[in-house]
Every structure is written in structure tokens, then in C-alpha cells.
């Protein structure tokens, strides 16, 4: 059950991060427009964020596939999803208009993305919970 959950979570997140990274990198102008709609980021930072986010998503996808870094990649994914949720909530509360920036040219409404991310965060938390007693691959001293 634990292993099955790990595999399902891994496949889902790798697919999600891989797809969203590709969507952003294939249409960076669309991502720029989405970032501008948030009205949070100065123009000086926007060009870096445009590439930082999809590259981070790729790094997490790779980390999730490597057993040694799976749990740390999961924790990093949780942090990233938390940041996304905070930004989406800010967008929704200020009643702004525009794309969430999640899926490049394919679009994505902030409201739907917020709900979808809640499920993903729930899955990550559940996976971290049920694997909490598994020894960490990175820290040998935690092995029994």
C-alpha cells in the first residue's frame, strides 16, 4: 500500500511537473503575460522567474524519480505547491483577471488551479505521512 502510493504519487507529480515545465518553456511570452497579471513581480525579476519556475519543476521531477531523493523532492514539491497556492489565493482575493500561468498556451483559470492544487497537496501530505517511518535514503544515520 505504501509502495503503491509512492509510485502513484511519483508518476502523477513527474507527469504534472514535466508537462507544466514544457508548457511554460515552449511559450515563455504567455508565462510573462500571466506573471504580469499577478501584479506582484517587478519587471527586473520577471525574466528570471519565467525560466526559474519550469527549471525547478524539471529538477523536482528528476528528484522524484531518484529513490535517494524522492522524499526530499516530495517536501520541495510541497513547498512549491504552497507558494503557488499563496499566489493563486492572492490573485483570487484581489479579483484580478487573467491566466494562472500554469499551463502555458493551454491556459488555466486560477480558481480551478487552486482546487486542483489542493488535491495534489493532499496527496503529497498523505504520501509523506505514510512513508514517515521509512528510513530516509539521503541520511544513512536514520536507518535502523
Amino acid at each position: 500500500m505504501v509502495k503503491a502510493t509512492e509510485i502513484v504519487t511519483c508518476i502523477l507529480l513527474v507527469f504534472l511537473f514535466g508537462f507544466t515545465a514544457w508548457a511554460k518553456l515552449s511559450a515563455p511570452e504567455v508565462f510573462v503575460d500571466a506573471l504580469k497579471a499577478y501584479q506582484l513581480f517587478p519587471d527586473k525579476l520577471t525574466p528570471i522567474i519565467v525560466y526559474y519556475v519550469p527549471i525547478l519543476e524539471i529538477a523536482l521531477a528528476v528528484g522524484l524519480v531518484l529513490p535517494k531523493y524522492f522524499k526530499d523532492a516530495l517536501r520541495a514539491s510541497l513547498i512549491l505547491m504552497g507558494i503557488f497556492q499563496a499566489l493563486l489565493l492572492s490573485f483570487l482575493l484581489r479579483d484580478l483577471e487573467g491566466d494562472c500561468g500554469c499551463f502555458g498556451k493551454l491556459g488555466g483559470t486560477p480558481g480551478w488551479s487552486f482546487v486542483k492544487n489542493l488535491f495534489i497537496i493532499g496527496l503529497i501530505l498523505y504520501t509523506l505521512y505514510i512513508t514517515r517511518n521509512n528510513p530516509s535514503e539521503v541520511d544513512p544515520s536514520s536507518e535502523k
Partner: protein, 140 residues
Amino acid sequence: MKKQSVKVLFFFFTLPLIPAVFLQSHIKDYVYKGDVIAEQYSITVEKSRELQNILWLDSRKKSKYESGTIDGAIWVSYKDWEGSLMKIFESFEPGQNIIVYCNPTCSTSRNLAKQLRQEMGQENIYYLKGGYEAWLKLQK
């Protein structure tokens, strides 16, 4: 959390910065100048007053359209593109200028204007710089 895990997390979040800093030059022009081609089809509120016979298209949220819009403006949306096109064709008169607007920071009006130029095959379709807020300001 174990020290090693903290280190790994640190690397996850900092290493992507390196390629991002190197790649940013590819998109800087767009960030600062925007879509240069689309800019040719932007129009200010002042300039719009010089045009005759305008069909206004409101691409903001429906709730915002319903709470106040330019007189005679039609609400259009990507979500209901077929329906929006039908409304436009019903109201459009040959030779009419079309101006699409949303709010100051959204790119919907610019993209919608571009799509309409492709669908209708005409050049006199613009997006309003500064959006509805700019139009409101000039009314005061």
C-alpha cells in the same frame, strides 16, 4: 528535518537559478517592450475618440461587465468563443472599427484583438491601452 534533507532542499531551490539567470536574456525584450507587433494595434482612449463608428468589445469578467461598461459594448469571452463571435457578427457593420478592452494589466484584450484580426481578416481591430479604467478616467 535532517540536516542533509535541508541541504538537498536548498539545492533544489537554488540550482535552477543558475540556468535561469543565463536564459533570461531570451525574454527580456518581451518583458520590457511587450509584443511589438501587437503594440501596433494598441490604441489610447484619446486616439479612439478620433475614430468613427466603433464597436466596443468588453473582455473583462462578466460580473465587471454587468456592473459597468462602455455604452453599447458587447461582452466577449474566450470561454464562449463561438457565442462571442456570433454576437460580434450580429452587431458588426462593414467598415466599423473594433476596439477590445479589459483591465490595465490583463493581456486578454490584446490576444482577443489579434485573434479577431485573423478570424475576420481585417486590420482595424485594436485593443485599448489602459483598459476600461483609462476610459473611465477620461470621462471624469
